[in-house]
């Protein structure tokens, strides 16, 4: 509303300078105190409670799932076979945990030997059920190498304090792997399991070489042990005198003759000859057992180093063979090796014919 005084007051105003200065001061203030949009996060109380409850429930569920997975997985893995998803848990988690309380290298070696036998049994099982897949073969090969590697590592640990014991342990390992190779080769003879055979052979070769090298450096000590082990072998043979089959008698005689030849310092050619001679006289070999039980063969004083190196391994292999034979006589196979795998282990592979070694005529002549 225009008043009568308007005319007189219109000229009362800020001049340009004052206005500009005032505006500048105001803009500077606004720059230091900018306007910020405040969006109130007003969530209803009940909704907030529900949100927190949901979050807590999710965390609890996830934790329980993880807990169950951690607890249940090892149990489920125990029945896994090579090629199964949880097999790695069995071999990398469960088995190491079982050996966690072992403190000495000797105990660890014994434990790894048992695991090695377990691998052989698993191989037997897979072959029997026709489920030896490529993945299973790979798992077995890897684990056999790993076990032998662990044993060698522990042997080296023994060697730092007791050289003699380390030598014998190497020889034991070589013998064990030789036996393993024989068994696995027999088990998978009808299977295209070349990688498994190769893995076992390589492990055995390495072990034998290490045993040979170790024995070379301590020949006198080795010979003393050779005598003791040979006597033990003779005793074992005597105890199994009337329990061996014809083939087993022939095999045992062959091995003994080889060892004796090596002790006499004979060459490999000579060895072949003596082997044939020994194998043809099964009856006389039993007499030889009686004589040899009480009369140890003369150990050549000038036995070539290589022969004596090999002798200990051969004797230990022979002892293992005789021990297994004795075990087979007393314990049926079915009690040791499970005939059927766990249901989860059955995978779809091409059915393999079962190896019936004891009944086929071809197998008997080998």
């Amino acid at each position: 509303m225009k008043s009568p005084w308007s005319t007189y007051v219109q000229d009362t105003k800020l001049n340009t300078t004052e206005r500009e200065e005032l505006r500048a001061r105001l803009l500077a203030y606004m720059e230091y105190h900018p306007y910020r949009v405040l969006v109130p996060q007003r969530v209803p109380f009940l909704e907030r409670i529900m949100q927190r409850a949901n979050a807590a429930r999710m965390i609890a569920s996830a934790s329980m799932a993880v807990f169950i997975a951690i607890i249940a997985t090892p149990f489920l893995a125990e029945s896994a076979n090579p090629g199964d998803l949880l097999y790695a848990v069995k071999t990398r988690v469960n088995e190491p945990l079982q050996g966690i309380t072992l403190s000495t290298p000797e105990e660890k070696i014994a434990f790894e030997m048992k695991l090695l036998e377990k691998r052989v049994l698993e191989t037997q099982l897979l072959v029997d059920t026709g489920t030896l897949s490529v993945q299973a073969e790979e798992d077995l090969s890897k684990n056999i190498k790993r076990h032998s590697g662990e044993i060698q590592k522990n042997i080296e640990e023994i060697a730092t304090t007791n050289t003699e014991e380390a030598i014998y342990a190497k020889a034991d390992l070589a013998a064990e792997l030789t036996k393993t190779q024989d068994i696995v080769t027999a088990i998978v003879s009808d299977q295209p399991a070349e990688s498994l055979k190769k893995a076992v052979t390589e492990a055995k070769d390495v072990a034998v070489e290490l045993a040979t090298v170790a024995a070379t450096s301590s020949q006198e000590q080795v010979m003393g042990h050779v005598e003791r082990e040979l006597s033990r072998a003779y005793e074992l043979r005597a105890s199994l005198e009337r329990k061996l089959s014809e083939e087993e008698v022939t095999e045992v005689a062959r091995r003994f003759s080889r060892i004796e030849a090596l002790l006499r310092g004979e060459t490999p050619v000579a060895l072949a000859t003596s082997t044939e001679a020994a194998s043809t006289t099964s009856a006389s070999s039993s007499e030889m057992v009686v004589v040899q039980t009480f009369v140890a063969p003369e150990i050549a004083t000038s036995t070539p180093p290589r022969a004596s190196d090999d002798i200990l391994t051969r004797i230990k292999t022979l002892i293992t063979y005789l021990s297994n034979t004795a075990l087979r006589q007393s314990v049926p196979k079915e009690e040791v090796i499970p005939e059927t795998p766990a249901p989860e282990a059955v995978v779809e592979t091409a059915p393999q014919p079962k190896a019936e070694a004891t009944t086929t005529p071809e197998k008997a002549t080998e």
Partner: protein
């Protein structure tokens, strides 16, 4: 309706609206402060403080319906504070009688504002505004310099329309009396 009277939600709009309010009302506010205080420098400072305080309220999220009444309110309060600093006497004590007493309302009927304002020499009246009581001065300035209606003035100073009219009337009567005395 100008931009200043709209609800502006976003930040940049708030700043634009505020700057527009400065451009539109800075002279009017200065004029009001000048005639209330008769001190140019002090009037400029009060206008500056008024805008600063207004921006602070905006930043706090205060919803501003009308920048005009909002700015006048802040400025009026600052001027009252200024009076309190300058004079120790209560402003209410300077008022003649109880304004709420309806007996004083009869004055308005006998001597209307229009009659009084036309009988006063405006040019000389502006010189002697400082000599009338502050609350009368406030009402006269808001009415005849700022051009607000008695209703708007009542809303601004938080009183009734009748009180505003009475103060205007008494302010004009006091101005007339001073002019007659000077002449």
């Amino acid at each position: 309706m100008s931009l200043l009277d709209l609800d502006i939600p976003s930040g940049s709009h708030q700043e634009d609206a505020f700057i527009a309010a400065f451009d539109e009302y800075n002279d009017a506010l200065f004029r009001h402060a000048f005639f209330r205080l008769s001190d140019r420098e002090r009037a400029i400072e009060l206008v500056h403080d008024t805008y600063i305080q207004a921006w602070s309220y905006v930043c706090k999220g205060v919803a501003i319906g009308s920048y005009k009444s909002f700015l006048y309110k802040i400025l009026n309060n600052r001027i009252i504070d200024e009076y309190r600093k300058q004079k120790s006497v209560s402003l209410d004590a300077m008022i003649d009688g109880d304004e709420s007493d309806e007996r004083y309302m009869t004055e308005l009927h006998d001597h209307s504002h229009e009659t009084l304002i036309t009988s006063i020499d405006a040019r000389h009246a502006l010189e002697y505004l400082q000599d009338i009581p502050p609350q009368y001065r406030e009402a006269v300035v808001l009415r005849y310099i700022d051009g607000l209606s008695p209703k708007e003035i009542a809303e601004l100073i938080e009183t009734t329309e009748n009180v505003v009219s009475l103060r205007i009337h008494r302010g004009l009567k006091a101005l007339k009396k001073i002019l007659e005395t000077k002449q």
